[in-house]
Symmetry: C2
Subunit: 506 residues, 2 copies
């Protein structure tokens, strides 16, 4: 099988990018804030704390030492196997460095350096490719921010981690906790900015790759690599344009997306945006419609903006796909429930009326005093402001049992006095017995609302602070379920689906 | 002039809601977490700290005392003028309480109590209206959460301000700082949830009013009242349906929106949503298209969702409206700049190419070494990752001067080492000399990014954490400018426009 073989090959070839036996920073520098300084420091620290298993070496033509480590004048002098080179020297010195990497037996190179085809020096890029081909070196870059792997400790994000603000050092580029989202970005700036943003959303990362000029390792290969990566449950792609190989990416993407969801954000969807991509990564953003068709063909779930992009990733990394578009909503806030219904239907999903069976069950809970008398059952179930933790537990379980409902939104505002801190646990215990996707909403920004959302998140029930954002998450679960069904693998996927082992982030 | 007289009348009649000389809580209760308990406590605290000027009295049929205050058995016993009564007793006792309020000379009543027309007891509501008419008492409610005024200290939000979470008291319903946004909500639950959310977004509130069944004071009156409220710079309305008086609201809204922007979020825009409004506030959500036309006619700026709703409010409360739809963007991140352009054009605005004059000016800065050589000027201006604080300052000023540009987005990622903590101040100093709207973006969630956004916010330049959200803000400024122009008052509006005096929130 073609995909299987391709996958096997790239998984062998690309492995040293993430699990190097020895990693050398060519251009390790004493100059603070310089890329070579920051990267060498990050890798050394990760090695010293036991996260990065491979040994770390610094190469600097001037020799000397930094952080108590000797700097080698060339990579060839390093008395240890080096399979991964991170290159941060001026562009015109990169070809000869690549030559020495070849001699040393380096398998992969992350080239951070800019100043190649993006400024018209195509000949330099071609020379690098020629040498890489000769010595079988795979390349990520040049002109990107490289790699961040939360599990293996490979980290080349060279932007300052801290910065001075009015005399105090403040965090400038945080690292999200280890999680289940991997992110491939054609824009390094967007990548690092999103990583910063993800930190605040408590979204965990598995791997991040910034392609830059993307002269070698491409989308098809990284998708195939991530297909079996144990930590990656969902793949995010920011893309401005394919480079020639669009058809092949689609072919491979189609196979990968049967195993793991791929969420795509395309830059350059309008005239002004496309003009931007041309000057940014020399990409012809091309015909927008063609791209949309291509992404759909490969099972890519299209995000409209960054909020949606990350909200989709969160839901996909935590919950199973939905069997259909029918959403059941249970709420104690009339207005927020109405807004959730509105967004769901605007996005093309259904918030259908309940079956007689479901209504009968709910009315039974009213009779036994569990659900308030003034509750209404038109979907949303509006439990009213006097709903208790038990009202939620019983109503939610009714929706999980309801045959007419494919996915459930629990909109549990924490504000009324009748909702207590026992609510999240009660719901979590019920939800875990059903393989039907559930998303939680609690609107708020401090104290109780943060705690409630974290309780849900930590039990792999994605919680959102606003109704519209929960619908973004739901969109991903419904669309991914629909893609799997179309490919005849939905039931099989759901059968083997397991919740992630939450570790703080996702 | 009809509007002027109407405005004068309501400003006199409604004043005691916000500036009572004496305020009595009918139903002040010793029972913790009960509405009567929470409200009496809030008002007393605000009075004791000098925020609420009027005296606060508790009324409880059983007498006694609480918080060191005597509880009066009836309102008539209170030996002081009472012009505002907050009523939190069972619905069937409200008519007689209203009668006593009339005898006491009460001018306005905030009726929190539910159990009227929303549960079919229309006769009780009619009796309340009859008595109110007889004694000229104006009513907000019943069946709402009432009023929050950040400046005068009137606060009837009876949901617990703190709650126990795993044995510790945590904030459950924070109060945003005093600001310039007033919010009229047909849903109490939505209102309180949004207030909680606003706190985290550092959005300040002026007044919040939850209508509930809206039996007396209506949208037209509150809009007219807020038209001259010194703290209100933008009015938010969450509405499910008008009650009969739609035409009049539109007529008044049209006058108010020439003075202050009104942002509308409509619940029940889809079949499922409309079904919800019927059971929620017994509202016929009605023909969606008709509502859209009506809101447009009154100059209401329509928000699609809660993110947009608040992002629009933020921009409108801080920046002047735009003269046209042409946005200039300056960035140091190619990808984020492209996304901002995409959203702007998707929303119907323009990110036009620059004039020769503008390009010439920018090229001059390249020649003098202020802007990096690799910068591109196709709009967005992509200053590249090596842009300095000065690159930003000069490029931004070029856009503020550019005749072809009506509004500016400064997308200043803080991550590159060349951007320092001097950047926000430099920009703020330049921007304040132009009456052209400017919005800032810095993507991130912690440390430096929070500080950068706060610096901008505190100088009344609204800063957003994601490109799409900045475009939501820009949408409001462009659409409001277009509405003012259509009414022939744009230039006059801009001439008298002054930035708000920022006090921490907005």
């Amino acid at each position: 099988m073609k995909f299987k073989e391709f996958k096997k090959r790239v998984q062998e070839e690309l492995k040293p990018f993430f699990y190097p036996k020895g990693i050398a920073v060519i251009g390790a520098s004493r100059k603070e804030y310089s890329a070579g300084h920051v990267i060498f420091k990050l890798l050394l620290e990760n090695h010293r704390k036991g996260l990065l298993k491979g040994k770390v070496f610094g190469v600097n033509i001037k020799g000397g030492s930094i952080f108590g480590e000797k700097l080698y004048k060339t990579i060839e002098e390093i008395p240890h196997e080096v399979d991964h080179a991170v290159i941060v020297i001026p562009a015109d010195l990169v070809p000869s460095a690549m030559y020495m990497c070849g001699k040393k037996g380096v398998k992969v190179a992350t080239i951070i350096t800019g100043g190649f085809s993006e400024v018209g020096r195509n000949y330099l890029e071609e020379e690098v490719i020629r040498i890489a081909n000769k010595y079988n070196i795979r390349i990520i870059g040049p002109n990107g921010v490289g790699i961040f792997d939360a599990y293996s400790g490979v980290d080349t994000l060279f932007l300052p981690t801290k910065k001075e603000v009015e005399g105090t050092l403040e965090i400038s580029l945080p690292r999200p906790p280890p999680g289940f989202i991997s992110f491939l970005s054609q824009s390094g700036a967007l990548g690092s900015a999103v990583i910063d943003y993800m930190y605040g959303e408590n979204l965990g990362l598995a791997k991040f790759i910034s392609w830059g000029n993307k002269i070698d390792v491409n989308e098809a290969e990284m998708l195939a690599y991530l297909a079996d990566d144990e930590y990656t449950r969902v793949i995010l792609m920011y893309i401005e344009a394919f480079k020639k190989n669009g058809k092949f990416v689609i072919e491979i993407g189609k196979e990968v997306s049967k195993r793991k969801p791929i969420v795509v954000l395309k830059g350059g969807m309008t005239e002004a945006g496309a003009r931007g991509t041309l000057s940014h990564t020399a990409s012809m953003a091309g015909n927008v419609k063609l791209y949309e068709v291509a992404f759909k063909e490969m099972g890519g779930l299209l995000a409209d903006n960054l909020i949606e992009f990350l909200d989709m990733a969160k839901a996909l990394s935590m919950q199973p796909p939905a069997r259909g578009p029918n959403i059941g909503i249970v709420t104690n806030g009339g207005g927020p429930g109405i807004l959730a219904s509105d967004y769901a239907e605007k996005m093309g999903f259904k918030v259908p009326k309940f079956s007689q069976d479901t209504i009968k069950e709910l009315q039974g809970y009213v009779e036994s005093g569990i659900i308030p008398k003034i509750a209404t059952f038109s979907n949303p179930i509006d439990l009213s402001g006097t709903a208790t933790d038990d009202s939620y537990a019983y109503a939610t379980e009714a929706l999980l049992r309801a045959k007419e409902i494919d996915a459930v939104i629990v909109l549990a505002l924490h504000h009324p006095p009748t909702v207590t801190d026992a609510m999240p646990k009660k719901l979590i215990n019920i939800i875990k017995d059903y393989h039907k996707p559930v998303i939680a909403i609690d609107v708020g920004s401090i104290g109780v609302s943060l705690w409630v959302r974290k309780m849900f998140d930590n039990s792999s029930i994605p919680a959102y602070p606003l109704p519209v954002r929960a619908i973004y998450g739901m969109k991903a679960l419904i669309q991914y379920g629909s893609w799997l069904r179309k490919n005849g693998v939905l039931e099989q996927y759901l059968e083997s689906w397991k919740p992630p082992k939450m570790t703080g982030g996702i």
